[in-house]
Amino acid sequence: MSTTSTTEESTAPAQAPAVPRAPSRTGDITRRLLGTRRVLVGLALLLLLTALALAGPLLTGWGVGERDFSAMLEGPSPEHWMGTNRTGQDILTQTTAGLRRSLLIGLLVALLSTGAAAVVGAFAGYLGGVTDRALTWIADLALVLPGFVILAILSEHFAGRGGWLVLVVLLAAFSWMVTSKMVRGLTVSLREREYVQAARFMGVPPHRIILRHVLPNMSSLLIADATIMVSTAVIGETALSYFGLGVRSPDISLGVVIADGAPFATTAPWVFALPTALLIVMVLAVNMVGDGLRDALDPHSTSHRS
């Protein structure tokens, strides 16, 4: 790149009649994203999990709530491929049905929570003044509220069909604050960067500056936060379910299955092993995609580009 660097006698713009086409940033990122093996493996795993979640209950022939009173807490057999639990429910059916819900909850909570954190933190940090004080106050308030208790109380009212969606919103509503504070701090330092000032001086409106310059420059933080959030949400939902406050039967989630199986982890491992393994694979896959996305967005991490 040094060969054409400091030519004083620059060529006049008119000399280049064949104007090359403008490079496309999103295309570039997609290409790089799909060029990484980690991302492909992660995406494949996620797809596989989704397929399993959708097809699982159909494969076994057992219903989600159905009990086999002839086989209670029995190991894998031709009847029940992954065994049954204490009440005679088929583990594979239970797990895959639960996975469907948990996948949705995990991804949605991560998206909502990180999105809210990014927006609130960035606007508070960038705009400052009254906006900052108001948004910081809301975040502080949300932090001191006993989220678990409120969730417990509210979930009474939202039990039943579609209740899990409310659960998603509530889980997200109580998990964005700490990240938003980090985002705010970063934004305050990014706001003083000269490229942000340059954008301001060329008349770019604040919301565009935040979306174009501020948030992309903290994408590593946001992606890391979102990937952690996926597992936190699934586990948080598990905790709620353990107390009978999260997903309620007949609805089922991975958390419920794990919570049910936990006491038998040593005596009847099949009850516990499969749902836990699926949870680990799911978090791993999300992490892989997140890592790849972070690298694709970060120009420093790639040295061999045309």
Binding site: M1, S2, T3, T4, S5, T6, T7, E8, E9, S10, T11, A12, P13, Q15, A16, V19, P20, R21, A22, P23, R25, D28, R193, E194, Y195, Q197, A198, A199, F201, M202, G203, V204, R208, R212, H213, P216, N217, S219, L297, D298, P299, H300, R305, S306
Partner: protein, 731 residues
């Protein structure tokens, strides 16, 4: 031809060569092993020098030339995985490879170092005095505490800290940058070492403070009789201070010799280029700046031949065959010999420690000496189109920017919950100036004088706290939102730091396109214009898809300029655009700015602390001190006949890269640091440091203390704010 040169310099340095040298570095090579299977980085190759007692050796080079690494290696401060070969002798004793404990006994007592950054050189949680006393105690733990304390106070006095007894108990953050650097020097002198290595000791400081520190280093040399190795990128600093100079390039010494020889009779094209690239305070001695094109080679895979050959305007095919040794001028092997030996042969010739003889690592050094070539002869002098300003008188040209009585005060707040105002920072306190079409006004002053605050106030295009700003004849205070947005196209800014002024996540194309897209240009126009702008600033179309991190500092600054030019502004605000760049690159950017101005008829508001760059680029100059303009006028007359004592001191503090003239000059060294802008002195703000004030009679002084001088014209395009300014004859 070269023999007489060698003889005269040999005679001049007979005393230093006669005695055994204090520090002797021979054939030093430093290699950083490549990380994660990457190639090794050969940071330093074959560096050798000697310094005798009381001698000053200047090591000059651009960033990445290995000048700091070589001295860190001598101090034993490099990480353990570094591979260091060669020899470093202190009083004849080999210190390379000594273990850390043995080396720690030498450090500070025999050899000590002053670092570049005085802000991070001191521990913030201990008082300055205790840190200084520790430096004394660490080599003599049996010494009484009180004695170390007394010595620390004595040292503080020696380096010119006022009220040393009280300041002993100050913490580092209570000291200004210049004072901290004084403490660092005091620490380096604490145990009367025989060698002091100064790594860019003045780079982070203002010129007037730099002059103080250089004075102090002279004192240190006199007091301790130590040899000083002064590492710097500033050719001016070395010129007046060093006895001998070593020029480094890509980890190699490329020229060495007495300071007069190297400056006046440079025999290595790189040195010649460096000297040609520095803007001079005496422009009658200089035509256009001569930039060195290209970038230094990669240190992980240096070329087989001369490392400078790819950038050298007089390179021959033989230059690429074998790396030339550092030999006396004229004693390089002939071209035929090199060809006969073929590529890959080891560089021949003796490479001893180094005496006063001038030597250059260039196979054409003899030829250069014979022909008496200078930078202008061998480098293609850039052709900068002349501006057609002189045709129209200044008064008749339209006004691009007018600033009237501009004020920017920041409140000083105290308290966490209940904030209360405890004072005011008078960042900008009533300044007036105007810029006409096609001209350049430079705003100069030390850090904290309010230059940047002025720029920000102008760029905001809002209603100032007091006074008015009008751009293109439109008062910014009465603009609506849409009007302000439209006016933003006319004023654009180029920032100082090329690292942080470009969004690292955007491609160069998107960066330059941003202002165009913001102002609603159709996509086809954007593409065409971005590639046009890339060409205009000397970059290629292939650069468009890259990210800023892949460019060198100079190239990034060019991208910044292209972005600023995208909306076709009439006024370009340049906030120290070249101060973060190496000299050779700086020349290219300065020339680019001059060329663009001539071609596009731009007006510049050029903010700088570097008076020599200002002298070269600006038509008019305004000198700021503590939020006020103290002198304004056309550059030639301000430089030639500075009327304000502050301007005179500033000009005098700038070192000239010319050893003879530099030694002959008498410097006006300002005392102390600038007062805080939160608490400016009454009356004339400069009186506390004014050398003229000291010579005035009592009633005259009274006037300075009580009445603030206004900016009054002294005749011609020149105005000054001083009650006792030198009036021009007849006005």
């Amino acid at each position: 031809m070269s023999t007489d040169t060698a003889e005269t310099t040999g005679a001049a340095h007979a005393d230093s060569t006669g005695r055994p040298p204090v520090l002797e570095v021979t054939d030093l090579a430093v290699t950083f092993p490549g990380r994660r299977g990457g190639p090794d980085v050969h940071a330093v190759r074959g560096v050798g020098y000697t310094v005798g007692r009381g001698e000053v050796l200047g090591i000059v080079g651009e960033s990445g030339s290995g000048k700091s690494v070589s001295s860190m290696a001598a101090m034993g401060l490099l990480p353990e995985h570094t591979r260091i070969t060669g020899s470093v002798r202190l009083h004849g004793e080999e210190i390379l490879g000594l273990d850390d404990r043995a080396m720690a006994r030498k450090r500070g007592r025999v050899i000590s170092m002053v670092f570049q950054d005085p802000l991070s050189g001191l521990t913030p949680v201990y008082t300055v005095g205790d840190q200084l006393a520790e430096a004394v105690l660490v080599h003599d733990p049996t010494a009484p505490k009180a004695g170390a304390r007394a010595r620390a106070v004595e040292l503080l006095e020696l380096v010119g800290i006022p009220n040393a007894e009280q300041r002993y108990r100050s913490f580092p953050h209570e000291f200004s940058g210049g004072m901290r650097q004084r403490v660092m020097i005091a620490m380096a002198m604490a145990n009367r070492p025989d060698v002091i290595i100064c790594d860019e000791p003045t780079t982070a400081l203002d010129v007037t403070i730099q002059a103080q520190i250089l004075d102090l280093l002279r004192t240190a040399r006199r007091e301790t009789g130590a040899a000083i190795v002064l590492i710097t990128h500033d050719l001016g600093v070395v010129a007046g201070f060093a006895d001998r100079v070593l020029v480094m390039y890509a980890g190699r010494p490329v020229e060495t010799g007495g300071v007069d020889d190297v400056y006046h009779r440079s025999r290595m094209p790189y040195t010649m280029g460096l000297l040609g690239a520095v803007p001079r305070m005496d422009p009658e001695h200089q035509g256009a700046l001569v930039p060195i094109e290209g970038t230094p080679p990669s240190l992980s895979a240096p070329p087989p031949g001369c490392p400078f050959a790819p950038r050298c305007p007089i390179a021959l095919p033989e230059c690429d065959m074998v790396e030339p040794g550092l030999l006396a001028v004229g004693s390089q092997p002939r071209r035929e010999e090199i060809r006969a030996r073929g590529a890959g042969a080891a560089p021949s010739g003796v490479r001893d420690g180094g005496t006063g003889t001038q030597r250059a690592a260039c196979i054409r050094s003899g030829e250069i000496a014979e022909q008496g070539w200078t930078a202008q002869d061998i480098y293609p002098v850039p052709d900068i189109p002349e501006r057609s300003l002189s045709a129209v008188r200044r008064e008749d040209r339209p006004e691009v920017l007018r600033v009237t009585d501009l004020v920017k005060h920041h409140p000083l707040m105290r308290g966490a919950v209940l904030k209360r105002r405890v004072g005011t920072v008078y960042a900008v306190d009533g300044i007036d100036f105007d810029i006409r079409e096609g001209e350049t006004l430079a705003l100069v002053g030390e850090s904290g004088c309010g230059k940047s605050s002025t720029l920000m106030e102008i760029m905001e295009l809002g209603r100032p706290q007091r006074g008015s700003v009008s751009v293109m004849g439109r008062d910014t205070a009465v603009l609506g939102r849409a009007g302000r947005f439209r006016l933003r196209r006319d004023v654009q800014i180029v920032f100082q730091d090329p690292m942080s002024s470009l969004d690292p996540r955007m491609t160069v194309f998107d960066i330059i396109a941003e202002p165009l897209r913001t102002h609603g240009a159709p996509p086809a126009d954007v593409t065409r214009r971005v590639y046009g702008l890339l060409g205009l600033v000397g970059l290629g179309t292939e650069h468009a898809t890259r990210f800023p991190a892949e460019f060198s500092g100079g190239q990034r600054q060019r991208i910044g300029i292209a972005r600023a030019l995208a909306p076709e502004p009439g006024l370009l605000v340049l906030d120290e655009p070249v101060s973060a760049l190496d000299v050779s690159v700086q020349a290219g950017v300065v020339n680019l700015l001059k060329g663009l101005q001539a071609r596009l008829g731009l007006s510049y508001l050029f903010v700088s602390h570097d008076l020599s760059v200002v002298r070269y680029i600006a038509d008019r100059v305004a000198v700021m001190y503590l939020g006020r303009i103290v002198e304004i006028g056309d550059t030639a007359s301000v430089h030639a006949r500075p009327a304000h004592p502050y301007t005179r001191a500033l000009l005098s503090a700038v070192p000239i890269p010319d050893p003879e003239r530099e030694r002959a000059r008498t410097h006006v060294v300002l005392e102390g640091d600038p007062p805080s802008p939160a608490d400016p002195p009454s009356g004339c703000r400069f009186r506390t440091r004014c050398q003229k004030f000291a010579t005035l009679s009592e009633p005259d002084r009274e006037r300075c203390v009580s009445t603030e001088p206004r900016v009054e014209p002294t005749g011609g395009d020149h105005a000054v704010a001083c009650h006792f300014a030198r009036r021009r004859a007849g006005s």
